[in-house]
Amino acid sequence: MAEIIANGVRLHVQRLVPRDRPCRSGRPAIFIHGLGIDNLSSFYYTLANPVARAGTEAIMYDLRGHGVSERPPNGYRVVDFVADLEALLDALDLAGPVHLVGNSFGGAVALGFAVANPDRVASMVLIEGHFAVAGWAEQMESTLRSIGSDLAAGNTQLWQKTYGRKLGRMAELADALINGTTFLTDLHKVDTIDPRALQELTCPVRAVYGEHSDVIGYAHQLRQFLPSLTMTVLPGLGHFVLTDATATLREIVVNWFTTQDSLIDR
């Protein structure tokens, strides 16, 4: 298990390198997962492997406070997650442009990173991407606070007894993050993304949303602001596109990197 200190935080990193053929380009794909109980495994079992086998190195990491990365008591603003990613790429000696894949909250991190570092992004894939616009933090905070108060009021050991070890562990982790760190208040300190900065982004962006997703509004706003956006809305699906439409997403993402790399190398 690779552990890398980035921005002063110990991050758990997994790299999948194409085994039987060389990497197609020097541009790896960095996978950024969602918030709360999510971690890099949601990509490990779905997209990372096919991407690596198709010739693009796949790099996944657990965000701070998530998975088996360190859980510092504070530093959970979007800019902190962006700074972690910058430091991680530095630590991995990746100075050139990379592809970014963000799922849910990972989308907000990818967009924040791209606005701050436009030269370091070759392309982006946003899966049900969150988008730090006005009102976003309030929506996230209200959802997470209700989960957090349930956990704080209850007893995570009771969860374990009632629902088994796995759910008990998930409840423990969510409790530690939501009630044991500045996660909720930090989330509130978001700097919304300036639409003009988005309009200046030149990297190609591929977005995929579920038709019935609670964040479908972000898809409409992205359409407005991103000049180089290719959007797919998957009919009948909600927010969990990554697990509910894995095969479709695999095809979209693998084709996207193959096309982007051939366009860049041309």
Binding site: M1, R19, L40, S41, Y44, Y45, R53, R165
Partner: protein, 100 residues
């Protein structure tokens, strides 16, 4: 390398990953399911894959082993399937092919 030796290795890794307190009540054998019996979290399965790679070296490519499986197939995996995969990687014919 016999399947019994491999099972002992995998069992020791699992006890370390899920914690001896929980593992104490479970007899980890070939038919033990990662999901139904051990309730292994997906990130813990990633940890196991990493440990296996570190322990057995390049012959065991757990990522390739998982590559052709759907999420449901991965969830339904048993300890025995992993042990059989590793044992297969150490058969003389396979060893010669991998080590060239």
């Amino acid at each position: 390398m016999t399947p019994d030796q491999i099972l002992a290795d995998v069992r020791a890794m699992l006890v370390e990953i899920i914690g001896p307190e929980y593992a104490l009540g479970i007899d980890i054998g070939m038919t033990t399911s990662f999901e139904a019996d051990l309730e292994l979290e997906s990130i813990e399965f990633v940890k196991l894959a990493t440990r296996l790679g570190e322990h057995y070296g390049h012959r065991v490519d757990f990522v390739a082993f998982l590559a052709d499986k759907t999420l449901n197939e991965i969830i339904d995996l048993t300890v025995g399937e992993v042990v059989v995969y590793i044992a297969d990687r150490f058969t003389p014919a396979r060893t010669a092919a991998v080590d060239g």
